[in-house]
Symmetry: D2
Subunit: 339 residues, 4 copies
């Protein structure tokens, strides 16, 4: 940790800080300069958090040397982690495609969509039972009934299923019926929920919040992993920027950052990332090229009738074409679609 003192900071104040650092078992370093005094603290600087040096009136700023996350960092764990989503390993040689509608709207509809995505080559099935909607007047999902339908349709089609969990109280139910939890962008910093998922036994797909930096996502993942659940998949799904031609701005370089900083698998959601049906396929190819471990794609048997997110849902034939065109990109990336 580097501690930059304010211009007028006294030797007394510096000494106070130096001795606090020493008392924590770190090696303190005093670097008086002509314009600023700088203090170093060598060792496990995470211990310094308890000193709350940022609040000290003599401190201009702190520059941590080490990342604030540990368990999820690649430094602690240089090898890629493999997360097991049902029978599908994520983070290995395969490139995983999870498709399905935004929301579970009923058995018949989901079954139709599921057959289509399976036939096109998808490995997993997605579908929301609990829908966080911006408007209280919009369709909020089928809840527990939706979970049951999702499980059934997944089993019938031989695909593991993933669904969003939006509330602590639903963790058990989702764990019972689904093969993976999805934490949505709006809940990425719902720390109570993250802690509960850290104690669960199913993998967690953690979506990046709309205002979350890559480091924020890794800190959120740390919540889960530090509780014991190592099965976390990071998901880039776009951030909020001034650009309004897309629903969000898909940050594919975040895939590079996640891969450089963490050992966890990374998938991309080009559907929410763009919000525009026509842009989903090219962003799926780009995700594969950028080094992602898979994609989540919204597919609806009839988007014209979708109860949510229809504008970004692919028609089944569009998804089939995507899968076909995706293959050479996946292979160019040295990966495979065949599990």
């Amino acid at each position: 940790m580097i501690i930059v003192l304010k211009p007028g900071a006294s030797k007394l104040e510096a000494d106070e800080i130096l001795s606090k650092i020493d008392a924590k078992g770190l090696k303190p370093l005093y670097m008086p300069g002509s314009e600023r005094t700088v203090i170093g603290a060598l060792g496990d600087e995470r211990l310094l958090g308890e000193l709350h040096l940022e609040s000290h009136p003599a401190v201009e700023r702190l520059d941590p040397i080490l990342a604030p996350y540990k368990a999820v960092s690649r430094e602690m764990h240089p090898e890629n982690s493999i997360v097991q989503f049902g029978n599908i390993p994520i983070g290995g040689n395969g490139f995983v495609v999870v498709g399905g509608p935004c929301a579970v709207e009923g058995y018949e509809k989901l079954s139709t969509s599921a057959k289509a995505v399976k036939e096109a080559g998808a490995h997993g099935l997605r579908g929301g039972a609990f829908k966080p909607r911006t408007s209280p007047y919009s369709f909020q999902g089928l809840g527990l009934e939706g979970l049951k339908i999702l499980q059934q349709v997944g089993l019938e089609n031989g695909m593991p299923v993933i669904t969003e969990v939006v509330e602590l109280a639903d963790v058990d139910a989702v764990e019972t019926y689904a093969d993976a939890f999805q934490v949505g962008a709006r809940n990425m910093q719902n720390f109570r929920l993250l802690t509960a998922l850290g104690q669960a036994n199913k993998p967690v797909f953690l979506k990046r919040g709309m205002a979350a930096s890559v480091k924020d996502v890794l800190m959120a993942a740390e919540y889960i992993v530090s509780e014991g659940n190592q099965q976390v998949v990071l998901c880039e799904r776009g951030i909020r920027t001034f650009e309004s031609g897309t629903r969000n701005t898909l940050d594919l370089s975040a895939v590079c950052q996640f891969k450089a900083l963490s050992h966890l698998p990374v998938v991309v959601d080009p559907s929410h990332g763009t919000g525009v049906r026509e842009y989903v396929a090219p962003m799926a190819y780009a995700a594969a090229a950028a080094g992602a471990d898979g994609i989540l794609v919204e597919v609806h048997h009839n988007p014209k009738e979708a109860l949510s997110d229809g504008a970004q849902s692919l028609f089944p034939d569009q998804f089939a074409e995507l899968m076909q065109r995706l293959r050479p990109f996946v292979e160019a990336a040295g990966r495979t679609l065949d599990f």
Copy 2:
């Protein structure tokens, strides 16, 4: 609602949409143009949500004419709403100041802080019992014990108290011990929590999310109000931008927007809004000048020892000075600090 069709849209597709609008009881309007066909839907366009026209392949985009929120809109309710926070009315002639530490750290400490803010002229007391923290390794609050301390200290000092609720399961406890709920930025779109608060009987201070537009905040408020709880106070606390010299970018023009679009009271949190102790007071004055109904300010009896957010917490004497200098700004705005 204005529906712009894609360049190649056929008359048949237009007719399909026109008849759907008609079937919903709105007046359809057909406007063929040289480059685009435009369709209008006159009437209560919120009914059109069920048609999911945005998903229709022939539709380029929808331009709603009316706002998606109703109950919180000024159009539905032209007069300012008054929210009762304990014995303090918010949204009337008074300018409300709520002060206190980021977190309740114990009875003695909170009591010291509370006496200081009371003496300086604050009307309400704030303090977190459940703390959402970016790092799993940071202090997470005292929980229920913190709630009890907060209630006691509030009563002893004759100040209503507000504290953050982060989870559905805590709603009852917070309602029991506090005079108001605070919904933090990270939970602003925790719709399940909002729904529960809409059924509660204490006022809700709803903080703007870091990636939330003014309209998103109003939609979140609509969740609460549409469930029956009219007592909502909107809180501007900064949004996330590229500017890194402050923790967030405090958007004081949001006060103007909220006031123009909604009848709900609006307060400003210059502490989280800037994250820098020295900028809190000027932003508090600016909030009063911009037309806010009050401020939430972090004050700690000794910020150097604060367990969270110390860098933005005021020392008691700084807060006392703030209160003194604030008065003429409040009066210039035609308001009063005296209740």
Copy 3:
């Protein structure tokens, strides 16, 4: 154009606006609603600009139906445009790679870099003679001498050259020595410069400004094209967001947007787009996968000694590896690296 009137707007005000629309030769449409009156204007709505309806006190907002740009729009010109950069066509079947150092630092150095990029398979050479630098104390480029060196090295290696023009007064010099102009992100809305380039006879690579939406870029391109120079290449190079792990946030979905809205070729600059050497190659592959027509990559014969942007410049062997790994992605996109 759709004109939404304010709630209290009178019939008289509506009539005033309707007759203004009529006088411009557009078909006015009156749509009174229960909550808002809406006015339509059918025809070439760009003529309405002169009415300044946005300033009218009775007008709540304008919703244009048509894009504000014309000459660059795909609607006006459905076929892809091909821009000729020296002997290299951009926008056709080929995927163009332009490599070279951020700045021309001298003949020997540029020559070394140029040979390396040529040998690795690049088609064009880049190098700055006029450098816009954030700090007045940084290296500002070799100016005219740099231009001459660039031209010579380009000729010796059989590669067309591109360099940035930062000022009206330099347009002639750059046109004389280079095969293409580059307009940097900071000058994207230097409208005087754009107008001058619209009267020049060399192609223009227009880089997206850090705060420019896709539509803003298209409007800037319209400045050039409307003056007569059809040879414009759009360049995505990242926008400014809150994410600080990369220098900018590379918006690859902008490639999709540009392609959908305009007939102009699109290239991507993964060097400025990320600012991190290790992320350049994956973002180059992703650009190819997203449908771009080429990339601009910073390569320096010895980045450790580069006078600018060293941290994002590739070493020659890194660039050679990039070119090799890029090929299957380009082919997967149905394009070729061989001209």
Copy 4:
């Protein structure tokens, strides 16, 4: 300067960097840690720029201790600077109001507007002769003729005048006819223009770019001041964010930052900052409360007919009311409107 090396960096690489620092006359400091080696460089770290350490493959990142700007910093010059705008000092005890139309549209119109703003109490007159417009099809200003009209109207009404300079070639003309240069947001990093203004003899109002951080603005100001022109006024006018209810997001905390980091005067432009007529006055009051030294406000004798920016221009009577209501806020801030 703190230099953090990558995890695998060798002692040899550290030594190479240490000796380079030593050779520049700074004191090198070697701090090996368990996870990272950190190197310090004590002294005038600005000299290290020439070493381009950021490009070194062993370097993870650089953390400068000192700000990159010098001449504009408050550390170098603790007292507030006063800039003389005609007969009006900016940065002293007075709060300066500059009003006028977005563009000079002709003598009669400007004269009417000027009389109105003068009568209402404004100190200076603004008006654009060269207009940077997003669309090539919009009104581009009257140019030299506009400058002459502006000068004449300013003289007739006893007000200094300010106008935007958009191009190097116009610097002399603007210097001749106006009392101050305005550099617009789009030209804030037009470094050639800044350098020329640094050699001019009139004050420069430097507007913050839409994607410019506070530090970027200070670096741009450094360009001007380092060339010899000390007369720089910083202008906050909003940044680009995801919020679309206002044209920009006015960052009033930037006033605090500018005041803390620099000795230069700071004014606020609530017209461009909001883009909404109704929000201009409250943001003007907030600017005064935040500690600004003045405001720039767009006022048009008849905004309904304005050739540009009509939606954000005040009617003369609105401006008169603003001036009246502004006074107590200015006085609460310990300033005066009377010069």
